[in-house]
Every structure is written in structure tokens, then in C-alpha cells.
């Protein structure tokens, strides 16, 4: 498995993501800069990390989503390459139309930075097979715009197809997101977006490793 981390001006979680991928796979990811339009063919997992791409001007992730590098990522996703977007990465994926819905300002209007609990709603995906359905995991969040919204009809379809992957559990919804949604996957099952930061909970030094399973699943470090 070869992974890649996207680097755009204003993204600031790229080094955490590189460290997580390196520690879990034993191999450093390549990095993809904003001007690149060709992603190497041997990349199996592309990760868009968190931060504030292009200052989050206009709407969070809106400018990044229209950069040529995102078109290149979209083409890879259409060929089946796995794409993971975390936090601003998730916002970029919805703005790019690679995932349904939108991420709006937190209902509290405050930036939230704390640990939440996530329920694994669907463990039968390339990103969550290390977990069990219904498992509660701990994960940090740090965002101002994580309030997921989608129209009712689309939501019903997503629920039927098992595309809601994580929900905030036990009253820990930090942002008012619809139906407590914390992470969703596309219909094909190869593009996952989530607001929480699993890369910040992968080893004892972090105080836990509940986030490790997402990378272990996506990198196929564990048996399918």
C-alpha cells in the first residue's frame, strides 16, 4: 500500500497525518502539492488533512475544492483509489461534490477542541473494518464548521445504503450536526470524510489509539 498526503496552503495537520501514516504502515507517504495535476499510479490511498486551506475564504474548503489538484484526486477516486478527508479535508470533499451534504458553522458559533465519542455505524467498509459495528471510540475534534447538513431525501438514501459511517455518541455532538453525523462515505465506498481527527489518537503517547483502526483498515495493515 502506498499512501499520499495532500499539502495545500493553510492546511496544518499534514505533518500529523504523515506521522500517523508512517507509523502505522511503516512507510512514509508521498506528498502532493497544490500545483500537481498528476498523482502517481501506485498510490492506493490519498489523504486530505485538516487545517484552513486558502484561509477558508468564501466557505470552508471552497477554494481548495476548485484547485486542479482536486480534479486529479477526483479522477483517481473515480478509478477506485481510496480517499480520506479529515476535518478541512472533509469540508473540501463536500465542496468538491465528492461527498453529499455541506458542513456549516457550529450551532454554538464556537470553535470546539475536545475529545468526543464516536459510534461506528458501519464497520463493513475499507476504512472501518478494524472496528465492530456499534463500537464506541474516542476521538478528538477541533473545528469551527462541522455542522453537517444534507436534505432529508439524500439523508434517507445514505442511511439505507449504509453511508453514515460515524455518529457522535452519548450526547457528545459538538457542533449540532444533523442526525449526529460525524463521518460519511460515498456510494462506491472509497471516499470517506470525517470531522474528528483519528490521526491524533494512534499511540500511547496520545493517550490512546482508538483512531488507529481507520488507518490500519485503509492501509490494509490488518487482514480484511
Amino acid at each position: 500500500m502506498k499512501s499520499a498526503v495532500v499539502q495545500l496552503p493553510g492546511l496544518n495537520r499534514d505533518r500529523d497525518m504523515i506521522a500517523a501514516l508512517t507509523k502505522i504502515s511503516g512507510k512514509a507517504p508521498i506528498t502532493i502539492w497544490q500545483t500537481e495535476t498528476a498523482i502517481p499510479d501506485d498510490v492506493d490511498l490519498i489523504v486530505i488533512p485538516g487545517g484552513f486551506s486558502y484561509g477558508d475564504y468564501l466557505r470552508c474548503g471552497a477554494i481548495a475544492a476548485r484547485m486542479p489538484v482536486l480534479q486529479a484526486i477526483k479522477e483517481k477516486a473515480e478509478k477506485g483509489v481510496k480517499v480520506l478527508g479529515v476535518c478541512n479535508g472533509f469540508q473540501i470533499l463536500v465542496e468538491a461534490g465528492m461527498l453529499p451534504g455541506v458542513l456549516m458553522r457550529n450551532t454554538s458559533l464556537r470553535f470546539v477542541c475536545k475529545d468526543v465519542k464516536l459510534e461506528v455505524i458501519n464497520a463493513d467498509t475499507d476504512f472501518t473494518r478494524a472496528y465492530a459495528k456499534g463500537q464506541i471510540i474516542r476521538c478528538p475534534v477541533a473545528h469551527h464548521d462541522g455542522n453537517y447538513f444534507v436534505d432529508e431525501e439524500t439523508l434517507a438514501g445514505m442511511e439505507d445504503r449504509g453511508e453514515i459511517i460515524f455518529r457522535y455518541a452519548e450526547g457528545t455532538n459538538p457542533n449540532g450536526s444533523l442526525s449526529d453525523i460525524a463521518g460519511v462515505i460515498n456510494s462506491r465506498g472509497n471516499v470517506l470524510g470525517m470531522m474528528p481527527h483519528p490521526e491524533n489518537l494512534i499511540e500511547a503517547a496520545h493517550g490512546g489509539n482508538d483512531g488507529r483502526g481507520i488507518f490500519a483498515s485503509a492501509l490494509e495493515v490488518i487482514a480484511a
Binding site: 471552497a62 465542496e95 455541506v102 456549516m104 458553522r105 457550529n106 454554538s108 458559533l109 455542522n147 447538513f149
Partner: protein
């Protein structure tokens, strides 16, 4: 040159926490009877050329592609 104004507003039914906070702040300033405050965005643009029909068509594409997120937002275009 054509001058245009694009107004982007939240669709009905989409929660607007910022609008709610502004409504609360207006109330605390003593402005009573103010309801349904919704925050939006305004873009003023200058476009080369004189063909207003073409400009409007281009503006519509700009709105659909970038200026508005049509999942949650509506837009209107006004040309001088």
C-alpha cells in the same frame, strides 16, 4: 463594462446559527419585534464587455460553480 451584484442567501429550512445570534444581539440592543434574521453574502463584480445577457449567463455559472453552495444557498443576480 458591466457592473453586477450577486446576493447569496440561505435556503428556507436551513438552520442559520449566525442569524440567530444576530437576532439575539439586536434584541439585547433594544430592537424589539425583529424576527427571522438570516445572514447572507453580497458580491459586487465588474465584467468586461457590454453583452448583459452573456454576462448574466456567465454569472449564473459562476454562482453554480463557486459563489454559492446550492446544497444550502440560493442566489440572485442583479445587473446595472
Amino acid at each position: 463594462m458591466i457592473k453586477a451584484r450577486v446576493t447569496v442567501t440561505l435556503k428556507n429550512g436551513v438552520l442559520d446559527p449566525q442569524g440567530k445570534a444576530i437576532e439575539g444581539a439586536l434584541g439585547s440592543l433594544g430592537f424589539e419585534g425583529v424576527h427571522q434574521v438570516r445572514q447572507g453574502k453580497v458580491f459586487d463584480l465588474e465584467i468586461d464587455g457590454t453583452d448583459k445577457g452573456q454576462a448574466e449567463a456567465n454569472l449564473k455559472t459562476m454562482c453554480d460553480k463557486l459563489l454559492a453552495n446550492t446544497v444550502i444557498e440560493n442566489y440572485t443576480i442583479a445587473i446595472d
